[in-house]
């Protein structure tokens, strides 16, 4: 950690993110009956990210029950994946999670339930909003 910022992605960043998310009333309200886990995947781009980096979030009734870096074999009900530059756009709120999908900047895992995602678009927005509350230093900064 440098300048009181957490490097994204890292265990420390995810730990802080879990804390911020669990303090978010907005997220709690939007996801009060959500049940399901996520793997967020930063795809390799050959420049900043050489191999895919994944982290796992167990989300349950408006809270994050656990968050950690994940390995290649970790699975979850949903996978949301995109290259590093697009994660930066997302965290900067230049795109939103749904817009990211529409613009093909992100993709959902094969067979993931679109209906369930559609139901919780507000919660998805709050998941992203929470990232902006984590002081973040990106790998290429």
């Amino acid at each position: 950690m440098g300048d009181n910022k957490f490097i994204f992605p890292s265990e420390e960043w995810i730990e802080k993110y879990e804390e911020v998310l669990n303090a978010s009333k907005e997220y709690e309200d939007a996801a009060y009956d959500w049940e399901g886990d996520f793997v967020f995947e930063i795809e390799p781009d050959g420049e900043i990210i050489k191999e895919s980096i994944r982290f796992y979030l167990d989300l349950w009734h408006g809270k994050c029950r656990s968050a950690r870096m994940a390995g290649a074999n970790d699975t979850a009900e949903f996978t949301y994946a995109g290259p590093y530059k697009n994660w930066k756009l997302l965290f900067d709120k230049k795109i939103d999670p749904i817009k990211g999908l529409m613009q093909r900047k992100f993709k959902l895992g094969k067979g993931n339930d679109m209906g369930k995602i559609m139901r919780y678009t507000k919660a998805a927005m709050e998941l992203v909003n929470a990232t902006t509350k984590v002081p973040t230093k990106f790998l290429d900064e």
């Binding site: 749904i98 529409m102 613009q103 993709k107 559609m118 678009t121 927005m125």
Partner: protein
Amino acid sequence: MFGYRGKILRVNLSSQDISEMALDQDVAREFIGGIGLAASILYDMVDKDTDPLGPNNPLLILNGPFCGTMIPTGSKAAMCSKSPQTDLWGHSIFGGHFGANLKFAGYDGILIEGSSEKPCYILVDDSNVEVRNAEHLWGRNTEETWDTLKEETGLRNAGVARIGLAGENLVRYACVCVDHYRAAGRTGMGAVMGSKKLKAIVVNGTDRNVPVADPDGLNELAKSLNESLSEDPTFNMYSELGNAGYVDMASMMYGSLPAGYYTVSDFDSYNLSGTTMRETILVGKSACYRCPIGCGRVIEIKEGKYATGRFAGPEYEVIGSMGTLILTNDLEAVTFTAKQMELLGIDFISGGSTIALAYYLFKEGRITAKDLDGITPEWGESDSALALLAKIAKREGVGNIMAEGSLAFAKKHGCEELAAQVNGLEMPMHDPRGFSGMAIGYATSPRGACHMTADMYNVQMGQTNEALGIESQNRFTNEAEITAKQQNLRCVTNSLLICHYYPALAEELVEFIQKTTGWKDYSVEQLAESGERIFTLLRLFNLKMGYRTENERLPEIVLSPLEGPTEGYVPDVDEMLDTWYQFRGWDRKTGMPPKKRIKELGLSSFIQ
């Protein structure tokens, strides 16, 4: 001539003459098919004085060059005519298997002129074409008509386009139901058929070998694109949830699904979404010809007040117009209402919106039960909507004025500004306060308030077409220039007749065009020009019909700020019109494109 059959069937219902007209290859390249080609043909056949419901208003049904080929979702067809709702250009695009059958029968289209003395239907069985008596079908609903025609022709897989009671009674927003409840819903094509005493058109074609320039290349391209688009979120959403899958997002995230006749911002539409449908009444899916998506829903309600056997499930627009717009979130009630509309042959959008206006005016005390033949509509209940629907279809009592549309109904009660319409066509369920592009799109659309000639909600949610400069930055800013580009693109896709739900990029469309037609030099630039040519032609058509730029505005009902996801945004249509006209280089006062550009686009023969 690759991609085309080179001929259009011509049926005169007054004289009963049946003939064919040749399709010129150069004309096909200029105007492609669908709405572009139709406008180029109809321009000389109608004028300002043509009664849209008179025998001199022809009805032209065209398919496009992709139709009947392996191109996914490319087999739609368009019904075009002067619109009885707007007195301007009218078209409605529909799916199903009708278009492909027409192509397999050897035709690029059917031009229907005149009107029959007695109810009739047209039967096209390959090259055998007949006009048959339909007196036994007159007065019957669209389901009975479909069943009877399949039975009596013995053509169980034929494409069948038919009208219900609303079309017969010239309800101005009567639709045409096609095959398994796809519909030519907008601009009153059902009323045009009704005015011709034309109950139905049955088309059966057997020659599936539509000639294309590069069959192997086309096959490969279609396969690879299908594969890559299978990861596309909209593709998946429409496939898994139908277009009702958009309900949650539209209401919760964008506030673009209007509620309480455009006055309510926090209506809970959770129970109406495609996801709820999947969890409750959905029993199957249906798909149009060569469609890998299959957005059509099949539902069944086993018991209760709204019990119904297997039928088409409600789609996004009717969930809005007969659900959120009247503050009903009872999915079974909306489903049942939608079914009645389909049986009667009433456009979901215009019909639903006109009825919702009655609810609103009643709630506001501007009309009473006396004005509604004793009906007392209250937010949240559907019985009044069902009662009004029956009256509208028969033009009985208050149904007679409501059959003229929401503008006529509002005018009668002295509140024209409360009718959510442009040029007489009711707004679809995409509130312009949720997406600025919808505002300018509605104001300048060739066919009134229309979401299919500029689906800016898709663009402002993130759909891009980089090669055409289509990429939104902010849904609450003036993106009139992007809207104009999207209008041009839609003129091309509505002429190719490929479904909007298939999110192909301009480059991909160009490849499809090249491999189908053999126009090897066709480029993205030419695609953009084709779009501009067709959009310009539609404007010239409308100017000939008496189009007035004063009507390029939105009614007051959608210009009050709302809280919630629209964030209080109200579109500045005037500012956007400035940008739009400047980009197009047209005269804002007269609405006229400059003669120089008209000439460059090859449209000189379309100037009056």
